[in-house]
């Protein structure tokens, strides 16, 4: 069996949205402009709390990580700010990795703001953050009010450079870009992970994105597309890594699959079929004009992904049925069936990481939990080294310290003395100034 890392994804969808056959009365699709009349505060709270509970459960079950995303101004995912959600997840979990895939850089006015959030969440989570940097769904550019999709790719590239430089280079330094001119890049606080949290890039297969991942050793998260298209893209990615002078390790490719595990194949279909259909018909359905906001993709990508047969959204997703999906990226069935399919898929893709969507947007929490548990106990151990531990339980503790005594032991000593000038003009060490005999001029 292939050795795999397991990341469970949850969408935090607000499922009480109109079906595709009637949504046209209010909006072209559920993207972008579904009226706020459909929003109910109690249901939204429930959707979000279900998501949090599922995330907590994945840690107890021994998944390597939780993957979550952000969407803007749409019921398809109400966790609209991935870094805010990550901070909360950091507080309600202990050890599991938190993959925020992710904050949409182009929804930020400045990448410096995101760098601060990344650093903060990395500190709060004790170095458990994985940072995903998606371009953002085309349709959502309509509701940011920040970035022009026609400049999105260029701005994204530059924002990413600034973000990584802010996290890796000591400030202050000046950044002179086309979109961002920051006279003093000087990040406080800084991420715990060195040089920065691992970066994953979700990509439908555009060459420029694959080159970016290959060059920077980012994880290529394989999104959309048929298995044939994905395999072609992964092969290209591996060639690009070779050109950069290294062989991509298996865990530099993250496969994405829909999944549902039940007692039997038949039971898995009974449980999941309607929810998978719901996702295809309501969650993913958008118009060409929304998916491809002007300039959001290059001409080459448009031809390759949207207009070529077999490419991303070359047909209406919502017409995809169970039988077609089970031939593709849907792993559904008994633990035995899912084990076989997972082995086949990850072998085909040379993938060492899998992002598994146990949640299909409308799947109830009890059903997700059941599927998660069957998977964790009957499938996951087969793809792990002896002992079955998740990666976060195998190595050293990622925390810089766990007790005050350790903190004192590992800190080499501050680089500056905290001092203050008193009324008489004396500059004192504030750490000892409350003790009369120690209140004396300090050597700075």
């Amino acid at each position: 069996m292939n050795e795999l890392e397991f990341y469970a994804m949850h969408q935090a969808a607000y499922r009480w949205m109109p079906h595709k056959s009637v949504v046209g009365q209010w909006s072209r699709t559920n993207f972008v402009s579904l009226p706020g009349d459909f929003y109910d505060a109690a249901l939204a709270q429930r959707a979000f709390e279900d998501f949090i509970e599922v995330a907590k459960n994945t840690e107890r079950l021994g998944f390597d990580g939780i993957v979550h995303s952000e969407h803007h101004n749409t019921p398809i995912g109400i966790s609209a700010q991935a870094m805010v959600t990550s901070a909360y997840l950091a507080a309600v979990t202990e050890r599991i990795l938190i993959a925020a895939i992710g904050p949409v850089l182009n929804a930020y006015y400045s990448p410096i703001r995101l760098a601060e959030e990344v650093a903060l969440v990395d500190i709060l989570s004790h170095g458990r953050l994985i940072l995903g940097l998606p371009m953002g769904v085309g349709g959502q550019y309509h509701s940011y009010g920040v970035t022009n999709p026609a400049l999105a790719r260029a701005r994204f590239r530059e924002a990413q450079q600034l973000l990584i430089r802010a996290m890796t280079e000591k400030g202050p330094f000046e950044f002179e870009g086309e979109f961002f001119h920051v006279p003093y890049v000087n990040l406080w606080p800084r991420p715990v992970q060195d040089p920065h949290p691992p970066i994953w890039i979700p990509a439908a297969g555009s060459r420029e994105t694959l080159e970016l991942c290959a060059k920077n050793h980012f994880t290529y998260q394989v999104v959309g597309g048929s298995r044939e298209v994905n395999t072609r893209n992964i092969n290209l990615f591996r060639e690009l890594c070779e050109k950069e002078g290294y062989t991509a390790p298996a865990n530099q490719v993250a496969a994405v699959a829909l999944i549902h595990v039940a007692e039997t194949d038949k039971q898995a279909r009974l449980e999941a079929e309607a929810h998978i259909g719901w996702q295809m018909q309501n969650f993913l359905r958008s118009t060409f004009q929304d998916s491809f906001a002007p300039g959001h993709v290059s001409e080459a990508s448009l031809r390759a992904t949207a207009l070529a047969a077999g490419g991303y959204r070359s047909r209406d997703f919502s017409e995809t049925n169970w039988d077609e999906m089970i031939q593709g990226n849907l792993l559904a069935g008994s633990p035995q069936t899912v084990t076989e399919k997972l082995e086949e898929m990850t072998t085909e893709m040379h993938a060492g990481r899998v992002i598994l969507m146990f949640d299909h947007g409308s799947t109830p929490r009890w059903m997700i939990d059941k599927s998660l548990q069957l998977f964790a106990e009957e499938v996951m151990p087969k793809f792990r080294p002896a002992g079955g531990k998740p990666i976060w339980a195998r190595g050293e503790d990622r925390r810089r310290y766990t007790t005050a005594s350790e903190c004192a032991a590992v800190t080499p000593g501050p680089k500056a003395v905290p001092a203050a000038t008193l009324a008489d003009g004396t500059i004192v060490d504030v750490r000892t100034a409350h003790v009369a005999e120690l209140r004396r001029p300090v050597d700075l």
Binding site: R28, V32, H142, G145, N148, P149, A150, L151, T287, F288, Q289, D290, F292, A293, P294, G295, E299, L302, R303, L307
Partner: protein
């Protein structure tokens, strides 16, 4: 480039010249007063009956704006002003210095901005369904999200069936790629905001006589925008283009090519006679 070999009804090959490194196409015909006409979001790469009718009475030049028609989308196109400066370069290369400027839709915005920057260069300004203004509470229809199914209702108020030839853009894939490029060019100029609030102050600079033409039922650019242009331009007349068998729509130039051309030509000739 694939677009250069693509063919569709009313396609004519443009004359192409190099303008500061950008191969820029234009179509020119007719004799009489010199008129430069800037098209809108749609109908590029065509010499339509409207163009023919206008060229019957004027010396008409129809340039391709950067990113539209067969023109590549240059990296430097970031705003309407970039299109204005490129137009100035093109006209200099063509030796056109004293002329009447007209524009439709987005082309109307470019024309109005050209007039603000070079107010003394124009003999007259004609705006047809022009974008570019903010009229609070009366926004443009969101053309960036408009689906092909909606286009007929928005652009031609449901009369599109009569203009299948004019609307035919040839091969589906090539037309989709070209339209995407044109919308990208439009987004570079006008994604956010989709208006230029400076016009409220600066249109006063446009001293040339102006004609503001509005269709009877423009579902893309509300009538209030034409009224606002007519208010802000110091010497403007507002005219509504009437339909012979149906109320005119945003693409009145397809519905009433001769009538629209006559309206513009009469205005242009009258300005020539006045001067």
């Amino acid at each position: 480039m694939a677009a250069q070999t693509a063919k569709w009804p009313f396609y004519t090959p443009p004359t192409v010249i190099d303008v500061r490194g950008l191969a820029t196409g234009y179509r020119r015909a007719g004799t009489g007063p010199v008129v430069v006409y800037l098209g809108g979001l749609n109908l590029w790469g065509k010499w339509l009956p409207f163009h023919g009718a206008l060229a019957a009475k004027t010396d008409l030049t129809v340039p391709e704006l950067p990113g539209f028609g067969e023109a590549a989308l240059p990296d430097w196109l970031r705003s309407v002003d970039d299109a204005v400066l490129h137009l100035d370069d093109l006209l200099a290369a063509l030796g056109i210095s004293d002329f009447h400027l007209a524009g439709q839709g987005l082309g109307g915005w470019v024309a109005a901005r050209f007039a603000v920057i070079y107010p003394r260069r124009l003999r007259s300004l004609t705006l047809i369904s022009a974008m570019g203004l903010r009229v609070k509470g009366s926004p443009l229809y969101d053309y960036f999200r408009m689906t092909p199914d909606e286009a007929d209702g928005i652009l031609l108020n449901g009369t599109g069936g009569k203009y299948q030839q004019e609307l035919d853009n040839g091969d589906y894939v090539e037309a989709t790629v070209r339209t995407f490029k044109e919308l990208t060019a439009a987004a570079r100029m006008a994604w956010n905001p989709r208006y230029d609030v400076r016009f409220d102050r600066l249109l006063e600079r446009v001293t040339a006589p102006a004609l503001v033409i509005a269709p009877q039922q423009d579902r893309l650019v509300p009538h209030s925008h034409a009224e606002r242009y007519a208010d802000l331009l110091p010497s403007a007349t507002l005219r509504v283009i009437e339909g012979s068998d149906a109320p005119t729509a945003h693409l009145a130039l397809l519905q009433e090519p001769a009538r629209l051309a006559a309206l513009i030509a009469e205005f242009v000739v009258a300005q020539e006679e006045l001067s």
